[in-house]
């Protein structure tokens, strides 16, 4: 990837008059010596795989540790019964984020976006958007390119792995990617996209990676929900004209600095945070005994 900043993508977009997503796609075309059809099709397949993965949810499945399973269905039922405050859009997003996280923990097929642990954030907001707004699939694929461009810049300037930078690097990045995609779908320009992702990342700065028993289950599955809802709130703010006072690229740099300062017990080692609570340790001992 030739981009080291969101600023660069926005500048190139202004210079050429091409959309943010096109600049990202052209970079892939250059790098892989691929045609635009090839690049677009490859991304479309990933989006269709997200759809398939969502449809393949099995409410009766439990993960091997039995810590995870069935929660997405509970939220779905509560939504249908009219018990949720978050409305039809928000409620559906919560249910889908849980379902995808549960799919992952139960060894079903998912799309890492950017990681397996954070695989619920993007499909939760994008599939719900497509369903409820009746959006064309090609625009959904364009939004996937927007999200990927943001992810690439984060990976170059900071990191995407919990082991490297804590959960802010996984769920935080997924959330920033999703916010940018939503801002694009809602008509935002490059600047609006970048600020939507900056606002999102700021909200999750410092989030630690503390998986109980080292498994991608607790608290990972439910953190996909906060990533998705945070993305909607930030995209809404950005569309309304709210801007991050700290420029988006500097926010990403801050994420890196915070991640590097994080003790290793809070970076996917399964030692600190929730993993280190008395119950977390009890669960770990039980899982290891299995």
């Amino acid at each position: 990837m030739s981009f080291r900043s969101l600023e660069e993508i926005i500048r190139k977009s202004k210079e050429t008059g091409k959309a943010f997503w096109e600049i990202v796609m052209e970079d892939d075309m250059n790098e892989r010596a691929a045609s635009s059809q090839d690049s677009f099709h490859k991304m479309k397949l990933l989006y269709l795989s997200m759809r398939d993965a969502n449809a393949a949810y099995d409410k009766n499945l439990k993960s091997a540790s039995e810590l995870v399973g069935g929660d997405g269905e509970k939220v779905h039922q509560a939504l249908k019964a009219g018990k949720l405050l978050s409305g039809t859009f928000g409620g559906e997003v919560i249910a889908k984020a849980l379902k995808m996280g549960e799919n992952n923990a139960c060894m079903k097929r998912i799309v890492a976006a950017p990681t397996a642990g954070s695989c619920g954030v993007l499909p939760a907001v994008l599939l719900t958007y497509e369903e409820q707004m009746g959006e064309e699939i090609d625009r959904m694929v364009e939004a996937m390119f927007v999200a990927s461009g943001i992810g690439v810049v984060i990976s170059v300037r900071a990191f995407l792995a919990g082991a490297a930078g804590g959960c802010q690097a996984e769920i935080g990045s997924a959330s920033a990617m999703a916010a940018g995609a939503l801002a694009y779908l809602q008509g935002g320009d490059g600047e609006c996209i970048a600020h939507a992702s900056a606002l999102t990342l700021k909200n999750l700065l410092g989030l630690v990676c503390d998986p109980v028993a080292g498994l991608v289950e607790v608290p990972c599955v439910k953190r996909n929900v906060v990533g998705a809802i945070n993305a909607i709130a930030s995209a809404d703010m950005a569309i309304a004209g709210v801007r991050s006072q700290i420029p988006p690229d500097e926010v990403i740099d801050a994420m890196r600095e915070v991640g590097e300062a994080m003790p290793s017990a809070l970076r996917e080692t399964g030692e600190g945070g929730l993993a280190g609570t008395p119950t977390g340790i009890k669960i770990r001992d039980r899982v290891l005994m299995q």
């Binding site: 990837m1 540790s65 060894m107 079903k108 397996a116 991608v216």
Partner: protein, 234 residues
């Protein structure tokens, strides 16, 4: 970092390193063995040993050895499929020296009698490295057609191998050399830009001083999709 390194891959969960990477290590080892796996002794190291089970690392390795890819939905059932196909396997823990935390030692026997020992590690995000083959350093990513030649540590073998490749129009992308001791057993690892035809491999195998030739092809060959259509339908 490419767009599609960030978005994707499509994979069976829960972990790109402990599940998808483990499938890839198994699959690569199977390809290096160049035949169906009859038995596998699997020794897990570090984080693979500590948290592998909860991440399905064990099932993932078996799935790879059976020829499955990281997005294969049969991965959770790989033990059962291995049993049905008569592939034997054992799991145990080990401590490997200077190894990556996500490492595994695979001791394989093939149906036609080939034997192979591989140490592989999962580097994160689904990327892997093959660190050793039959006890000698290898260190390749399994993302190029890769030729591994074990030879007696004598003058001339490197030039013989590279000349033969040049004659067949094969460009060498990277090349590494290791040996256990002066005049002992040496290994050259060549990552190539083109696939190497099997008759070239056979010519190499017959050369004097060449002890073993292992080749990783990235081509999708039918003999590797061994599990057959019956299982696919299940």
């Amino acid at each position: 970092m490419n767009v599609f390194d960030v978005m994707g891959p499509v994979m069976v969960g829960p972990s790109s390193s402990h599940t998808a990477g483990a499938v890839k290590i198994g699959l690569t080892a199977r390809k290096l063995l160049q035949e169906e796996v009859l038995s596998a002794d699997i020794l897990l190291h570090g984080s693979f040993l500590a948290t592998g089970r909860g991440h399905g690392t064990d099932k993932a390795l078996i799935a790879g050895l059976l020829g499955m890819k990281p997005d294969d939905e049969r991965i959770p059932n790989s033990f059962q499929i291995a049993d049905e196909l008569g592939m034997k396997y054992t799991f145990s823990g080990t401590e490997l020296r200077h190894a990556h935390p996500n490492s595994v030692l695979l001791k394989l026997k093939g149906r036609a009698g080939r034997e192979l020992e591989v140490i592989g590690s999962s580097q994160g995000g689904g990327a892997i490295k093959i660190n050793k083959i039959d006890g000698l350093d290898a260190n390749f990513c399994a993302c190029y057609p890769t030729l591994i030649v074990h030879n007696a540590d004598q003058p001339g073998h490197i030039s013989e191998v590279t000349t033969l490749l040049a004659k067949h129009g094969i460009n060498i992308a990277t090349m590494q050399l290791y040996r256990d001791k002066r005049g002992g057993r040496a290994v050259m690892v060549l990552e190539c830009d083109q696939e190497i035809a099997s008759q070239v491999i056979h010519t190499l195998e017959k050369m004097e001083g060449i002890l073993k030739v292992t080749y990783l092809s990235l081509e999708e060959k039918d003999e590797f999709s061994i599990i057959g259509r019956d299982h696919k339908k299940k």
